[in-house]
Amino acid sequence: MTATHSLLVSSLRLGYGDRTVIESLDLTLPPGKITAIVGANACGKSTLLRSMSRLLAPRAGHVLLDGREVHKMPAKELARTLGLLPQSPVAPEGITVSDLVGRGRNPHQRLLSRWSREDDAAVAAALDATHTADLADRSVDELSGGQRQRVWIAMALAQQTDLLLLDEPTTFLDVSHQVEVLDLLTDLNRNRGTTIVMVLHDLNMAARYADHLIALADGKLHAAGEPSAVLTEDCVRAVFGLDSQVITDPTSGKPLMLPLGRHHVAITRP
């Protein structure tokens, strides 16, 4: 189940209405790795993710999965290979956890096929992997933010895709739940080889958890590569317009960005 798939984007242009959000973008997403996409607000991160999962048709250019254009693939076939968790998904009122997770099986079911043993097994495995088995019969409405996010990830896992795209999976979570969710995604990547691509707000979390970091600025690629190569003081200035100091995180050895505001700064500015 850990077949590696190549996902790449070539001269992609995206927009809504008469506004262009992404201008001529080329990207390759390394298979079997965790990729994080970072950038300022409204720089097109979510737009890019939506387009990679077929939700938004490109104005020009292509999104290619294993050499095939995703916008021309049958919807269910794509959904068996590539999963997406949108930024703030809505759960129908009163739905139970196991029912919600079960809906992730949709791409594996045909029109009149009945629910199979395989479907049960996939749901159970997803609940186990996300440590939500004990919540299975609870209503999603009653869960805490962190629990809810794990349940949504479980739904995406039940889809059993080799590629998983997540749009800001840690927004609205406090720091301990953020770590919990990112650890869970890392487990998935390490244990199953699932390729993970996520949009993250927090630069430092992105640098710590990603194998590959992509920085977007104004709809264009600013830099891509290992976090230590990408997350530099120059990059932060170009992408966010912010002066900063980047040090090595003593706990992880990854780069750590410390913003320099106008106050409370003891060192002299560069």
């Binding site: 809504y16 209405g17 979510s46 737009t47």
Partner: protein, 348 residues
């Protein structure tokens, strides 16, 4: 993904400043338009009348059928002006009180509340004349307004336009069923009631005018006097309180004025929708967001719109008449849709 809209909505809380001279010009223009429309309302109708008869009719002669028709048009015109002004003003006040761009006596179910109250009065208590049920109508309007607003403002985000509109539509539908249940067994009142339900000023007389004028006068006074307070309320409750406004009292008083206006106009003219919605939005484009200008201007334009709609209804379907309530719905609904379309999704 929600797109950004660079155009400010007409409800934006920033005053686009208009020089007083421009505002005065608009008010004078609106007054002139109203006078012209009033003349048209006396001159044109479902019966085509020559100028000689019009002049004679205005002087009070009723020798010919044509003159008699003209004589009947005069109180009708005054009633249309009074009801239109009341509805336009009530709409502007309600939008200010609720800070909700979709507040309108029709959409909020206030008219239906007045209607149900009137029906109950006729069927259960034997009220026979407008004099008897005007109080009932005002009471019904008030209860419905409070109820719809209460239901619409429950939950997250308070009274959003969507929740209010849904609460209003749902409760109106519920009230309409109750009205049918009351009216159906009484075939004696059913026909007259049905034409009243559509909403019109066709049955106007000086008596009905005399009856509503005191209520409307109080409503006008209360509403116009709360103009300054509404300006503070537009900044939000907390800020208004910070500026020394007694928010709850102010809101209650202003709402009372609006309810008096809608209740009284519904009692004489039936439920007329959309005037209260359309007029204030149109007026904001011309005189800006200052309620001290907006309220009187809305009253003027409301009067002009309703009177014009009544003239159109009399002229387009000759020799029949289309009730003014139908014309305003046909004009108002497209505006409502236009307005919803240009709102940002997140604001709804």
């Amino acid at each position: 993904m929600t797109q950004l809209d660079s155009r400010p909505g007409p409800g934006a809380a920033v005053d686009r400043r208009r020089p007083a001279r421009v505002r005065t010009l608009w008010i004078l223009a609106a007054l002139a338009a109203l006078v012209l429309i009033m003349i048209a309302s006396v001159a044109f109708g479902s019966r085509i009348v020559g100028w000689a008869d019009i002049v004679a009719g205005v002087r009070g002669q009723t020798d010919t059928l044509a003159q008699a028709a003209v004589v009947k048009r005069i109180p009708r015109t005054f009633l249309a002006v009074a009801v239109g002004a009341a509805l336009g003003l009530a709409g502007a006040v309600m939008q200010g009180v609720t800070r909700n761009p979709l507040a309108d006596p029709g959409i909020l179910g206030v008219n239906m509340g007045a209607s149900l109250a009137v029906v109950t009065g006729i069927v259960s208590f034997g009220l026979a004349s407008a004099a008897g049920y005007i109080w009932v109508a005002i009471l019904g309007a008030a209860v419905a307004a409070v109820f719809v607003y209460a239901v619409g403002s429950l939950g997250r985000g308070g009274a959003t336009p969507l929740k209010l509109a849904l609460a209003g539509a749902a409760i109106s539908a519920a009230l309409a069923s109750l009205i049918s249940a009351f009216v159906l067994p009484r075939s004696d009142i059913a026909t007259g009631f049905q034409s009243w339900m559509i909403g019109g000023v066709g049955g106007a007389s000086y008596d009905s005018l005399r009856l509503v004028l005191p209520f409307l006068a109080v409503g006008f006074a209360v509403s116009l006097l709360s103009a300054k307070a509404l300006n503070s309320l537009a900044l939000g409750d907390d800020l208004a309180a910070g500026l020394g406004e007694r928010v709850a009292v102010t809101r209650g008083v202003a709402a009372l004025g609006a309810v008096l206006l809608c209740g009284a106009s519904t009692a004489v003219a039936g439920p007329i929708a959309f005037v209260g919605l359309v007029v204030p939005h149109f007026c904001r484009l011309l005189v800006g967001l200052d309620h001290r200008w907006l309220l009187p201007f809305s009253a003027l334009i409301g009067a002009a719109l309703l009177t014009a709609a009544d003239v159109v209804g009399r002229v387009v379907a000759r020799p029949q008449e289309i009730d003014v309530g139908i014309i305003t719905a046909l004009i108002g609904a497209p505006f409502f849709i236009y307005f919803v379309r240009r709102q940002k999704v997140r604001e709804l």
